[in-house]
Symmetry: C2
Subunit: 439 residues, 2 copies
Amino acid sequence: MSASTHHLVIVGGGFAGLWAARALDNAPVRITLIDRHNHHLFQPLLYQVATAGLSAPDIAAPLRHILSAQRNIEVQLGEVTHVVPEARTVELSDGTVIGYDTLILATGAGHAYFGNDQWAEHAPGLKTLDDALRLRREMLVAFERAEAETDPVKRAAWLHFAIVGGGPTGVELAGTLAEIARHTLKDEFRHIDPRDARVRLIEAGPRVLPSFPEDLTDKAHAQLEKLGVDVCTGTPVTHIDEHGYKLGETFFAARTVVWAAGVAASPLARCLGVPLDRAGRVLVQPDLSVPGYPDIFVGGDLAAIQQANGKPVPGVAPAAKQMGKHIAKTLRQRLAGKPATPFKYSDFGNLATIGRMAAIVHLGRFKLSGPLAWWFWLAAHVYFLIGFRNRFVVLVNWAMAYISYQRAARIIFGSAPKEKVPDDHGAQDPVAEQRRAAG
Amino acid sequence: MSASTHHLVIVGGGFAGLWAARALDNAPVRITLIDRHNHHLFQPLLYQVATAGLSAPDIAAPLRHILSAQRNIEVQLGEVTHVVPEARTVELSDGTVIGYDTLILATGAGHAYFGNDQWAEHAPGLKTLDDALRLRREMLVAFERAEAETDPVKRAAWLHFAIVGGGPTGVELAGTLAEIARHTLKDEFRHIDPRDARVRLIEAGPRVLPSFPEDLTDKAHAQLEKLGVDVCTGTPVTHIDEHGYKLGETFFAARTVVWAAGVAASPLARCLGVPLDRAGRVLVQPDLSVPGYPDIFVGGDLAAIQQANGKPVPGVAPAAKQMGKHIAKTLRQRLAGKPATPFKYSDFGNLATIGRMAAIVHLGRFKLSGPLAWWFWLAAHVYFLIGFRNRFVVLVNWAMAYISYQRAARIIFGSAPKEKVPDDHGAQDPVAEQRRAAG
C-alpha cells in the first residue's frame, strides 16, 4: 500500500472503532487504529470480572490479534490527547503526531459525578478492566476486613455495599453482589455470616432500569428484592466520603460504594470546538460526521444523535457497532464519489440481567422476565463475545458457577498486602488482640 | 471447639502449610492459617500466567474456599512480620498479636540476587501472581515498543529477552517466550517481525536443569535450541541495569531481563535465632521441628533437610506437601502422647517442561524426552491442580492454545497507560514523527 493511499485514523478500539475497522477490509484506505489498551473489551460482561465470575482475559482480546489478517491496518498502543482539525493531526501523550485524511473518534465515555468529582475517590466506577479488578479486590477485602473486625458497628460498615445508579450496570452489580453474599461465601468465614451483608441499590429516579417499560421494571425490582437487594428508588445520594454516604440528610456507614450513575463522554470531544450535549457528546450530523469537519466522524458513546422517533440513540454496544459500520460505508461511498446516506439505528431490543436466573427482555411487543429471560440474555451475550475461545471458556465458567454457586476468579492481587489491610484494622483493638492472643 | 483446645498457627498457605492444615481435619486442634494472599497458588504453572497462556485465577484458589468445610480452621489474611518463640506469639504487620501452642512456618522463598540487590529492579523474578502479571505486561509492552521504535539498535534492545538462570523456571520461560515470538505473534505487527526477537537463556553453571542426569540435560539443551532459544551455559551475568546486562565484560542491550537464578528463604526464619543455611533456610531437626523450639515446625522451601542419600530435599511442590503432611502427623502423635518419626522424602521423580511438545522426565531409571515427556508433564500438572474447575478450564485453554498457537491471556492491564509507554518512546524521534505525520 503506497504512502499516498487515503489514511484513516481510528481513535478507540471499542465497538464503534473496531467495527468500522473491520468493515473496511479490502477498502482502498490505509488504517491506523490507536487505543490506550492493547485489547478490545467486551464491556457488557465487565461486571462479571468485577464480581469475580470471569477472568479479565475471558472478556478481552488483543486488538492486534483480532485484526492481524487485515493487512491494511496498523494497530498502535497509545493515548490520543489532542486533535487538531485544522492541521488534520492527532497528538499522542508521548508527543507523537499522526496525520490523517479521515479521522474516526470513538473513545467512548467515562464516569460523571455531576459536579462532585471528590466522590470519585470513594465511589469508583466500572469502565475498564483495571476498574473491574479494583472493584473485585475491594469487595473481597471488605469481607476479609469484616471477618477481622470485632466492633459490630465497624463490621456492619464493611458489610454494607452501596451501588449508586439503577441502570443496567448498577442492577447487574447489585444482583451479583447479593448472590455472592448469600451463596458463594456461605460457610467460608468464622466470625461473620456473609448473608448479613447489606447490598443497597440507590436510584435517584422513580424506578430502576428506566429505559424499559414500567411493567418490566416492576418485575426487575421484585427480582432484585428476591435476590436480597435493598432497592431504594426516588432517593438521590447527597454525599459520599470514605466512611459512607448520605441519602437526603441521613448518613449510612458503608466502606464500599460503587458509582454506576452517570457517564460523561471522553474529553477528546472538546478539542473539536463544536457544540456538545450535556454529557459532553458531539452533536453529529445525520451521517455521523462533525459539523464543519466532514473528514471527522464520531461513533459510539461519544456521538449524540436522535432516532427517527425523536429518542436519542442509546449508549449500548449494538448502536456503537452500527455506527462504526455506517461510518465505514460512508467513507467507501465518498472515496467512490457516491452520495452518503444518513445513519439509521436498528433497535433489536433491550436486555438486562439482574442475577442468577433473573433478567428482563424487551423486543418490540415481546416482553419476558425471570429464568427464561436470563437464558435469553446468556445466549445473546455468549454469542456476541468475540472469538471462539472466549465464548467456550465463558460458557464453561458459567456452567460451573451455576452448578456450584462458586465464582472462579475470587483472587486478590494487584496491590501490596499493606494496602489491602489498612491501618485501622479491627484487631488493633486490645479486645481483639486478647481474643486472638488468648489462644 | 473450646478456647482451651490446642491452638495451631500456620503461617503460609502454600503447599506445605495447606497440606498440613488439610491433614489435621478432625484433629483435636484449633487452627489459624495466616497468609499474605487470599489464595493458594499452584506455583508450578506460574510461568504460564507470566507468558499469557493462563489467567491468574486459573492457577489460584481462595484459601477460604478450599478449607471452608473444615470447621476447625480459621483463615486470616495478613502478613506475619515477627515470631517471638519465647512468648509463643506471632505478630502481624498491622500490629495484631496471635498466640500459639504450636507454630508451623511455611512462608517459602523469594529471590536472591547474590549480593546484587540493585539488579532486582531491572530483572524481576517470578514467585507471586503479581510477579507473573508484571512480567506478562513487560513482555507484551516490549513488543509494542519495538513496533513503535524506528532506531534499529533500540528496536533490537526491545526484542532482546534475557532469562538469567537455567533451572526449571528459566527453561520454561525461555521456551515459552521463544514460542510466542515465533508463532503466537506472527502476522500481528507491521514494522517488526516478532521472530527477530532474541530469547537468551543464561546459566552460570556448565548445563541447564542441573538436577537432571547429563544425558537428559543435553536433550533439554537441544530442544531449547530447536525452539529458537539462544542457550548460554558457563557464562555468569556480571552486571544488570535498565539498558541491559553483561556476560563477563561484554555488554548486551536488552530491555527485558528476567531473574530465575536464585532463591532465598523468607526472612521470617531469622526471627528464630537458630542456625540457617546459606540460602537462609532453617536447619531443621529430623522431625522438621526447630532446634531448641519443639513447638515450632518449618516446612516447604523454608526448611533445609537432607535425604537419606545425603542430598538435600529439593524445593519442589511434592516435597513441600510431604513435609506438611509429616508435620501434621507428628503433631497428632504428640497430642496422643506417642513418639514421633523422622521425616523421609519420597522422590517420585523429576519433570521439567521446555515448551511446545518439549519436556524431560526422570523417574528412577526411567528417562523420557520430547513429545511423550511433554504429554506426561501436562497430565501430571493438570492432575495436581486443585479443584475440578481449574483443571477443566486449564485443559480447555491448553487445548485451544495447542491447536491455534494462540495465548488467551495476552491482555495488558494493571498500570496506567503512561507507565506502559515510557518517555523515551521511539516516535519522539523527529524521523518517526515525520514518517507518521507524512501519512
